[in-house]
């Protein structure tokens, strides 16, 4: 049976990790646990539950900075920000439903540990770009901090980047300082109907390469669009290409108009206003289209944007399944019929042929995730370097061992 440690102060957190280190006892690090099945399964007898380290501690809207406990629910952060017309610009997606957990329960620590980013990634960056400082306890059982509470800082190595996307394998964050941004006054979405994948990604490239400051660029093939909760999308009966525009009123109107004209050559256009926009982009962010068919294996593939459609076509020719695109084609979501090997060679072969990138098996049975690489396999030099970094921070391998790569 798994024993759970639930520290409520940074000092307790340090003690917990120090104990694990001295007792050679690996810990599964979690807060809300909404992404426990993201990554390789790790064998641990103890769970480190961070949910006691939550709360907005230090929010200065005028400085565009917010300090929070690592396990603060995103919902709480977003509410506090919204009250000041601000937001987390990287738009952390909610993978809860997709991964069989509750909706709206994720924490900031989880979003950072997985370096998540929603559709606004193309404009505003990922979690990695919005964490400006933190306190953590490394696998050595020692407190350390990095960064600070100002948005511009290059003092010392940027360990915030190292924390982001490390899946809790190096250190356990106690609190983080976030860079926050003003929320847009208005949001609209231009829809283009009827473009096939290749043309759609060209349209998105055109939009992203324009001066109109696009903050979301996705394409839903017809069979994916049909699953949307937005009538204009679900009822289209055709592929739907979506471009999001945010900003001040007059500017949004002008840019939507310009984008519509600009993309008219690709198909009929339509415009979504606020609430429909919010629904659509949260679906896109969290792969809501794939939630229902829980048996499919879901891949999240980061690729050269222009190569997205070819990659998806190559995979689907082999495996069937469905695909849609975010990040202007650079993020390919695949829901494939289950296979014992998750078609990992097909996906990664297609990715390599498309110029490389990173394919992550986001959803699959535990046995599959244990047997085949969840994250893009690394070359020898990179693998050895990653292991040395793990050694540096967590020499006893007590933090989420094996969660990313075997031995790390």
């Amino acid at each position: 049976m798994t024993e759970t440690l639930r520290p409520e102060t940074p000092e307790q957190l340090r003690e917990a990790v120090a104990w694990a280190t001295s007792a050679d006892t690996p810990l599964e690090v979690a807060a809300a646990g909404t992404k426990r099945v993201f990554g390789r399964p790790c064998q641990t007898s103890h769970r480190l539950d961070l949910s006691g380290l939550a709360g907005v501690t230090d929010y200065e809207p005028a400085e565009l900075v917010m300090g929070v406990g690592a396990a603060t629910p995103l919902a709480e952060i977003e509410a506090a920000l919204a009250a000041n017309n601000q937001q987390l610009a990287f738009e952390p997606p909610d993978f809860g439903p997709l991964l069989g957990a509750a909706a709206g329960a994720g924490t900031i620590g989880g979003a950072i540990a997985c370096n998540l980013a929603g559709p606004r990634r193309v404009k505003a960056g990922a979690a990695r770009d919005h964490i400006i400082g933190f306190h953590a306890v490394s696998g050595r059982g020692e407190d350390f901090k990095s960064g600070g509470r100002v948005v511009k800082n290059v003092t010392g190595f940027d360990l915030s980047k190292l924390m982001a996307g490390s899946f809790g394998t190096l250190a356990v964050m106690a609190d983080v300082n976030l860079k926050v941004m003003p929320a847009p006054e208005r949001t609209r979405t231009v829809l283009v109907y009827g473009a096939e994948d290749g043309a759609a990604v060209k349209a998105l490239a055109q939009a992203l390469g324009s001066a109109f400051d696009v903050s979301g660029a996705a394409h839903l093939p017809a069979e994916v669009a049909a699953g949307s909760g937005v009538d204009y999308v679900a009822g289209a009966g055709r592929p739907v290409t979506a471009v999001r525009i945010e900003g001040t009123g007059a500017s949004v109107e002008y840019r939507c108009q310009a984008i519509r004209e600009n993309l008219a050559e690709f198909g009929d256009t339509e415009e979504l206003h606020s609430s429909n926009s919010v629904t659509l982009w949260s679906e896109v962010a969290g792969a809501a289209y794939f939630t229902a068919e829980a048996e499919t294996q879901v891949w999240r593939v980061s690729a050269t944007p222009g190569a997205g459609p070819r990659l998806a076509a190559e995979v689907r020719a082999e495996t069937g399944g469905r695909a849609y695109y975010d990040w202007g084609g650079g993020l390919v979501w695949l829901a494939l019929p289950p296979r014992p090997d998750a078609a990992h060679e097909v996906v990664r072969g297609a990715l390599a042929a498309a110029g490389g990138g990173h394919a992550t098996l986001l959803r699959a049975a535990e046995s599959v995730r244990a047997a085949f690489p969840v994250f893009e396999p690394q070359g020898e030099a990179l693998k050895a370097l990653s292991a040395r970094i793990k050694d540096a921070f967590d020499p006893k391998r007590v933090l989420n061992p094996g969660r990313m790569y075997a031995g790390v």
């Binding site: 917990a16 990922a126 996307g165 390469g209 001066a211 990653s386």
Partner: protein
């Protein structure tokens, strides 16, 4: 500035090292004569100088890999150098080290408009990237003031910022991938034209690592379409406080300008003498506020910023009426540091960042320090993100002035940390702020950073003597010291 003690055994092998380097890099690429080495004795920070043991200017990644492998195998230190514009001494030579110049890596390898990226060699200047893509309306967003000369490789090493970083981010937010040579000679590619590679974010870690982790040999950057319009305000204020209030009010109104710069009176005068940008000479503080985007948006924002400026006590307001005029407004700011060379033979440029709310306090205390040290200070800030550039003016030919300038600078940076800020916002720690790291970080903080260094370069051969005041041996850092782990502490909630 104390640098690591040179290794006599390495110095004794100098002849052999030169021979080995010549076997790798032919022609004029190995520089050994003292009078030639002299030109490499410092970078943009002239306060500290040291003759390198040898300078090597390779032309290919393969040559760099061979040089590093050789150094790794034989225990020779390496100091990478781009254009030598660092203001923190990032490329300061080390007596028993090879300075590895990337000056010959000047090619733009690929421009990919469809995927909004460009692949360039590290010796390409920041501005050259924009120049290569601007005929298609694109640009590379980070724009450090030295962008005419500083190279993208150096930008990555230092995580350079610029005047537009509040809205468009620092280098780290605009680099998609790098090719990097590790000290072992291994060549790694991190990232590419895609976003967010999995695994540890080594791209993010390499960026801003000040040449301590690897040598960057290729960079893939994100390029953006230029905004439809950009217009700049020159707003003069009767006091630094009111200028600071104006910036705070703009941000509080939810406006993120493309750039918000501030200069105090001495800086305004120095710059105006060189650029003739039409800066008002009779104000105490000047803001340059740039707004960009579609015409309709910019017009709206101009009206809002103008109202805020008036409310906060602006005495002069000018808005650029043409692209030429906008560029002239900026030309002054971009040339501000060297232009100070016109009012003082030497300057010492600080780079702390503070929370914006502390601006008035910091300026007041800095003025007091200025009279305490009897040294003038000219202030140039990236006001939008609280990044200060106090320029301490001194005359290196006057005995004692450099030491006073250093002490003054250290006091300024301690003050920045005291009010909740940091030592460096964009110039890097280098040697200049190295010994102040303890002001901001605990010993454990620093050890964790250095352990990362150990993972990349366990023998400490890459850019030694920079960033970290005391270099612990990696073997020692790697040892585990666990305390308090034996008993199961009673107060920890468990289930």
């Amino acid at each position: 500035m104390r640098m690591p003690e040179p290794d006599a055994a390495v110095l004794a092998r100098r002849g052999d090292i030169i021979e080995q380097l010549r076997a790798i890099v032919p022609g004029e690429g190995v520089i050994v004569d003292e009078d030639e080495l002299r030109a490499y004795e410092c970078d943009g920070l002239t306060a500290y100088r040291q003759l390198p043991m040898v300078v090597v200017l390779p032309e290919t990644t393969e040559q760099i890999s061979r040089v590093l492998r050789y150094c790794h195998e034989t225990g020779v230190k390496i100091v990478p150098r781009g254009a030598g514009t660092s203001l923190s001494g990032g490329a300061l030579p080390v007596a028993d080290a090879i300075t590895l110049g990337l000056g010959k890596f000047k090619r733009i390898l690929e421009i990919d408009y469809e995927n909004r990226s460009a692949v360039v060699q590290p010796g390409v200047t920041n501005l050259a990237i924009t120049e290569a893509v601007e005929h298609q309306g694109f640009y590379y967003a980070p724009d450090p003031s030295s962008q005419i000369a500083c190279t993208i490789g150096g930008n990555v090493a230092e995580n350079s910022g610029g005047v537009h970083s509040l809205k468009y981010g620092l280098t780290t937010n605009n680099v998609l991938g790098v090719e990097v040579v590790l000290m072992t000679g291994e060549v790694l590619r991190l990232g590419g034209k895609h976003l967010d590679s999995g695994g540890y974010d080594l791209l993010g870690v390499i960026t801003g690592s000040e040449g301590l982790l690897g040598v960057i040999t290729e960079v893939t950057v994100r390029i953006l379409q230029k905004p439809e319009t950009a217009r700049a305000f020159l707003i003069g204020f009767p006091s630094n406080e009111s200028a600071g209030d104006c910036v705070a009010a703009i941000i509080a109104a939810g406006i993120i300008p493309a750039g918000v710069e501030m200069m105090d009176k001495p800086a305004i005068h120095a710059v105006e003498d060189f650029v003739h940008a039409g800066y008002p000479r009779d104000v105490e503080a000047l803001l340059i506020v740039e707004l960009d985007g579609p015409e309709a948006e910019v017009a709206d924002l101009i009206a809002r910023v103008q109202a805020i400026a008036e409310e906060t006590g602006a005495v002069t307001i000018r808005i650029s009426q043409s692209e030429d005029e906008r560029l002239v407004f900026w030309a002054g700011r971009k040339a501000a540091f060297p232009a100070v060379g016109r009012i003082s033979p030497d300057y010492y440029c600080m780079d702390g960042t503070i929370p914006r709310r502390a601006l008035a306090t910091v300026l007041k205390r800095m003025a007091a320090m200025s009279s305490h040290y009897s040294l003038r200070v000219a202030n140039v800030f990236h006001a939008g993100d609280g990044n200060l550039h106090p320029l301490v003016l001194y005359d290196a030919n006057e005995p004692g002035e450099l030491e006073r300038a250093e002490a003054f600078g250290a006091d300024i940076l301690k003050l920045c940390v005291e009010v909740g800020g940091v030592l460096t916002g964009e110039h890097g720690v280098g040697v200049e702020k190295r010994d102040l790291m303890g002001v901001m970080f605990t010993e454990d903080d620093l050890k964790h950073q250095q352990r990362l260094k150990c993972a990349f370069d366990p023998d400490g051969l890459l850019n030694p003597g920079k960033v970290y005041p005391t270099l612990h041996r990696c073997a020692e850092l790697g040892r585990l010291h666990v305390s308090g782990g034996q008993t199961r502490f009673p107060d920890l909630p468990r289930f």
